[in-house]
């Protein structure tokens, strides 16, 4: 049997916050601003609101079977072969997203901080920490997240306070100029990136939490806190950089940190602020990778998942190098095809699970009582 670890509700809250902020803080403002211009913050508020509904839906599903992970739930609901193939699709998704995040961190580091380093070098180093984290187990990841959340929020508050003098309220006008269609399109992106992809957290949510009932509340609170952080960052990007510049930059919140200037003395502190994104990217990546390694081990009924970490880490590095030939491809995938893929696994599959559960309810109750 796989080792049984438990984390407490607070650690889970911290993991949810870091997971949801993840990449959203780095790339979502530009995607929002390119569709809804200066009303991007309204789209962010809508996205967070609907995202909360989706997370509520996830918590309801996961509490059907409070002791099983997402992969095991698939198997009990759909039977052996169908369940295993759905789980395999889920593992493919998480592995692909690990590679995409690794690509993101690699491009961020090589374009902004270490421009002479080849991308393979930064990716291999990052994958090394990734494999190390997953080998040490969920408890270690959760405890380190507890430490880093303090650093994260300290830097975030410093960023917000230092950028306040640069705010120009004219950038926000005219308010509510956006039409409903582009508002819906841009908030869909935020919903998918921050909430629908949280389906990977169902690998740890009911099974490895010591009190699943109370942790349900923390799942929602964590999502809300992260949503507020994203709303603040988007609003600040619009207020300081303006809608046009935000939409055109690849990492607008990094451009935001470049603008910090207190009395011509404290300026160009963006490298320090880069820590923010590395922390949140790392924890999102490690949770995706944990979900894929653990999911694969459960599909094959393995007794130890650790043996899979090194080979899968190798595959992730190679995937991250080939996944996008260039940045244009990344933008195109993330705003169109990636959304459908995430929605299929993260929304249609859970919906199907609810339907099957409703049909097989009595039969399943007998099975769980007998076992």
């Amino acid at each position: 049997m796989l080792p049984n670890v438990k984390i407490n509700s607070y650690q889970f809250l911290v993991l949810v916050i870091l997971f949801t902020i993840g990449t959203s803080i780095l790339i979502v403002p530009s995607a929002l601003a390119s569709d809804s211009k200066q009303d991007a913050w309204i789209a962010a508020i809508f996205g967070t609101g609907i995202g909360l509904l989706i997370v509520w839906f996830f918590t309801k599903i996961s509490l059907f079977f409070p002791n099983l992970t997402f992969v095991q739930m698939n198997e009990t609901l759909f039977g052996k072969w169908l369940g295993k193939s759905f789980s395999f699709l889920f593992v493919c998704m998480t592995l692909l997203y690990t590679a995409i995040l690794l690509y993101n961190s690699g491009t961020f580091l090589t374009t902004h901080q270490m421009s002479n380093t080849p991308i393979a070098a930064t990716n291999i180093l990052m994958a090394g920490i990734l494999v190390m984290g997953v080998r040490l187990g969920l408890e270690t990841i959760a405890r380190s997240a507890e430490i880093f959340i303090g650093v994260f929020f300290l830097l975030f508050i410093i960023l917000v306070i230092f950028i306040v003098p640069q705010i120009q309220f004219e950038n926000l006008q005219p308010v509510w100029e956006v039409n409903i269609k582009s508002l819906a399109r841009s908030s869909l992106l935020l919903i998918v990136v921050s909430s629908v992809n949280a389906v990977s957290l169902l690998m740890i949510f009911p099974a490895f939490i010591n009190k699943p009932k109370s942790a349900q509340k923390y799942f929602l609170i964590g999502n809300l806190i992260a949503g507020i952080v994203i709303i603040i960052i988007t609003l600040l990007c619009i207020l300081v950089l303006g809608a046009d510049l935000t939409a055109r930059q690849m990492f607008p919140s990094y451009g935001l940190a470049k603008k910090i200037n207190i009395g011509n003395y404290i300026n160009r502190v963006e490298a320090l602020m880069g820590t923010l994104w590395i922390i949140s990217l790392y924890f999102k990546m490690v949770l995706y990778f944990y979900a894929s390694v653990y999911g694969l081990a459960q599909i094959f009924n393995l007794r130890d998942y650790r043996a899979l970490t090194y080979p899968l880490g190798m595959i992730v590095v190679i995937l991250s190098l080939i996944v996008y030939p260039n940045v244009v491809d990344q933008q195109k995938f993330e705003t169109t095809i990636g959304l459908y893929f995430s929605l299929t696994i993260g929304f249609l599959l859970p919906l199907l699970m609810v339907i099957v559960y409703a049909i097989r309810k009595k039969q399943l109750k007998k099975v769980t009582k007998a076992s």
Binding site: C92, L96, L296, F300, N301, L302, R303, D304, A307, L308, Y310, P311, L312, M314, I315, V317, I318, L319, L321, I322, V323, Y324, D329, F333, T336, I337, G338, Y340, F341
Partner: protein, 74 residues
């Protein structure tokens, strides 16, 4: 050539770390899954190091979801 030798050395190190403990505990199934995934990983890495194009999962996904996308946006 040099790159693929490096990749093989890394693979050998991974085998050296993982396999003895798996053999000692007699985890047969784990060993099979481990070797399959490692073979895929090494194969992909060497193909990439020789500059061969590896099938990209993104292209495959685009192939599947493109008709849906076209139907929705039209």
């Amino acid at each position: 050539m040099l790159k693929s030798i490096g990749i093989l050395i890394i693979a050998a190190i991974i085998v050296y770390i993982e396999v003895p403990s798996l053999l000692k505990k007699k985890y047969k199934k784990e060993l099979i899954v481990f070797s399959i995934i490692l073979t895929i990983g090494v194969g992909m890495s060497i193909a990439h190091s020789f500059g061969k194009s590896i099938p990209n999962p993104i292209d495959f996904l685009t192939f599947i979801f493109k008709p849906l996308h076209d139907a929705i946006t039209r």
